[in-house]
Amino acid sequence: MSSQWAFLAMGIPFFTALIMGSVGYAAPRFMRWIGATGITLAVFASIGLWSTVSTDEYVSYFFGGWLPPIGIALEVDRISALMVLMVHGVAALAYIFSLKALPNELPASKHPVYYTLYFLLISGFVALAVTGDVFNVYVLFEVCALSGYALLAMGGKKAYVPTFNYVLMGSLGACFYLIGVGYLFIKTGTLNMAHLADVLPTVFFSRSILTAFILITVGLFVKMALFPFHGWMPNVYTKAPVSTLCLMAPLGTKICVYVLLRVVGYVFSMEYMTNILAVQPIMMTLATLAIVVGTLYVVYHRHLTRIIMFIIVSEIGYMVGGIFLGQMDSVIGAVYHIAADALMTVTLVMVAGVVRHCLGGDAIADVAMMFRRLPTTAIAFVIVCLSVIGVPPMPGFFSKFLLIKGAFMSGYYGFAVALLIASLTAVFLFFRFFEGYFYMKTDNTAPSVIQEPWAYRIPLVVAAIGLVGFGLSFSYWYGFIKLALPLGLA
């Protein structure tokens, strides 16, 4: 039964976490091997799911054997399969990275609990990508959020207050989402996404459904840190330990964007969003503002980690804008960008982590020093910079191209201009780092080259190669995503 892959993709990290929790205290030596086995199997499961979906297009999995809407189902189409691939790929890189990074940041007595939560977080992200039930999404938000809070708070005393803010904001977002789902359930009597999509058109003009739409989208905006709800994100992420950040920063916000696409595109349908509610102008303004504000902060800050956080803020704007543009190309661009941005963010965060650990800081001067002392990291950094700017063979170029095309087709020129400005700013920003290198005062005691440990080098090299590969295989992914688009687009 090939649909078993859908469960295995979320089940393998889940069981890995439980086994880690059960034996971690008794035998901490085995943790590393359990984790390595778990993440390898999980990557295999995601590849299995991907190949199944490539031939069958669609996989359904019914928990307990109960057909929806009675039970809970996993519904995997090609977009979800891409998301699963993304989560497991990034998680595998982050796990290898954390093997070396974590001992620097956390006493060994906390490692068993840390990795248990780490794998529960991974399984939560994967499950969010495959679930077909709106209430299940809420439960998974809880799983991800709670384990995320604990992992982020491991940055020590300075991380507590920002994490507490995140706890408040995250709970608020989840609460909004839950109330919205409550309204949907009262009006329709079902929680299954596909069934909801069938029933909702009969009650499209109800005020409760409008309220539900507002609450769910606002809740998701808070969770994904879209401007003006982004306040919690940069602080908590810059104070967190790098090993947590490698997992949270690329996936935490992206997966919420994916849930937004599911809810808006598939449950409420594009038609409801564009024609009945006509919220498109508001949403596009928000997305454009997010890009502009994120870009302004990027110029303002002078520490690499903080700059990355505001790059994320503006990239969230790209994806939300792409979804709400409602054009075929823009939605494909948004989905492609979710995966591309996860890869870019994880590479950037790893670079920042290596610089912080090996050179002792991540200010512009330290990053400039990286070009001299950490050659492998520097190459990865240059490759990811090209992608963030949007230079042709890199994935960042293709997604931006599709988004700008979509913006011109539906007449939101401001969004297109914001995208171009963001690209130009990225050029400016990264040249600031390069400039720091070329004009660095060279005293003759040239600092020696540091060899990165293997646990840093392998994920960096793989991520850089992966980025180039993901960009070069763009035409394959375009066709792959196109077949799973919501109705009324393809």
């Binding site: 929790g21 999995y61 799983v143 009006k187 029933v199």
Partner: protein, 330 residues
């Protein structure tokens, strides 16, 4: 008559909530919140949701009050804030009013309360009511929906309890506990408390076991039973000192047991995978248990839930009250 009670509750609940916000002394506010939870219990009972009421009583009024007190014990019971800081309050006021307006707008269009033809009552609920007993041989509908039809949600919620335990434990854990030689002295302050706690605790535990085992037939189940079992342990820890509580259930063992609880649930659900069935499809056990396969499976997963919740409540209390040092408590 009933409507009078409902209206009375509707007035009381917001009043109590406002009082809890109004009080400057946090300890009193916590007690008022406990009263708030009990009122909410009555509201749920009035709506016929007895299982929810039971949970609210056990978790909302019971254990979370204890947790709040444990936190206050290590922090402070007084709050200070700047009375001149009006702007943040104004923002909060506007946000709350806006949110309330949106919610009320949504309510205006909902079906009548108790309307038998509303989508909720005509949708999946009809299936549950008509077929649940035939499908599973469990009389308590709520248990069927929780532990069978929507079993994955319950498994993940149990995981959430495990995550909360692990998270709180990991954040508060001190690497080198502060050396204190007064490990057991604080426990002996009152003979009456110690003896009565020792007398009550077995009955609490017994009741907890009953709630777990009888969840199929009456309100209750793993969550409520686990909380009650956990309160029994908390009572022992409070009255006899943390050292003797740790002799009952040591900290590493507690974490392992909490993970094992979820593992029981998920492991039982994973058995069908061997027979190429769906995860949590209890019907593979029909060859062993016959028609009671689903019923017995539910009991087993509820035991897993109870184990995790019990260890979760106990562990969260121990971490909070000792500020992570696991040495001294209330």
């Amino acid at each position: 008559m009933l409507i009078a009670i409902e209206v009375g509750l509707l007035i009381l609940v917001p009043c109590v909530a406002f009082v809890a916000l109004w009080l400057r002394d946090l300890m009193s506010a916590v007690i008022v919140l406990g009263a708030y939870s009990f009122l909410m219990c009555l509201v749920w009972t009035g709506m016929g949701a007895v299982d929810v009421a039971f949970t609210e009583a056990a978790v909302g009024a019971g254990v979370s009050t204890v947790f709040f007190i444990a936190v206050l014990f290590n922090t402070t019971r007084n709050i200070t804030f700047n009375p001149l800081d009006v702007s943040s309050k104004l923002v909060a006021l506007v946000a709350c009013l806006g949110f309330g307006y949106v919610l009320l707008q949504g309510v205006s269009d909902l079906p009548d309360w108790g309307d038998p033809y509303s989508p909720v009552n005509a949708g999946v609920s009809t299936y549950y009511i008509e077929n649940a007993y035939a499908d599973t041989h469990v009389p308590n509908l709520v248990t069927t929906v929780l532990a069978d039809y929507r079993s994955v949600d319950t498994m993940l919620e149990t995981t959430v309890v495990l995550i909360a335990l692990l998270g709180i434990f990991m954040i508060l854990k001190k690497d080198r506990p502060a050396q204190s030689d007064s490990s057991d002295t604080q426990a002996h302050d009152s003979l009456i408390i110690r003896l009565s706690a020792r007398f009550i605790a077995p009955f609490i535990q017994l009741f907890g076991l009953y709630v777990v085992a009888h969840g199929h037939h009456s309100p209750g189940g793993g969550f409520q039973g686990g909380v009650i079992l956990g309160t029994g342990l908390i009572l022992m820890a409070m009255s006899m000192g943390m050292a003797s509580a740790k002799r009952l259930l040591s900290i590493p063992r507690m974490i392992i047991l909490a993970a094992v609880g979820v593992l029981i649930y998920a492991g039982w659900g994973a058995v069908p995978l061997v027979y190429n069935g769906y995860f949590l499809d209890y019907s593979v056990w029909e060859s062993v248990f016959g028609s009671m396969a689903r019923s017995h499976s539910m009991l087993i997963v509820e035991i897993g839930v109870a184990l995790t919740v019990m260890c979760g409540m106990y562990g969260i209390y121990m971490s909070l009250v000792s500020d992570g040092g696991m040495q001294e408590g209330l």
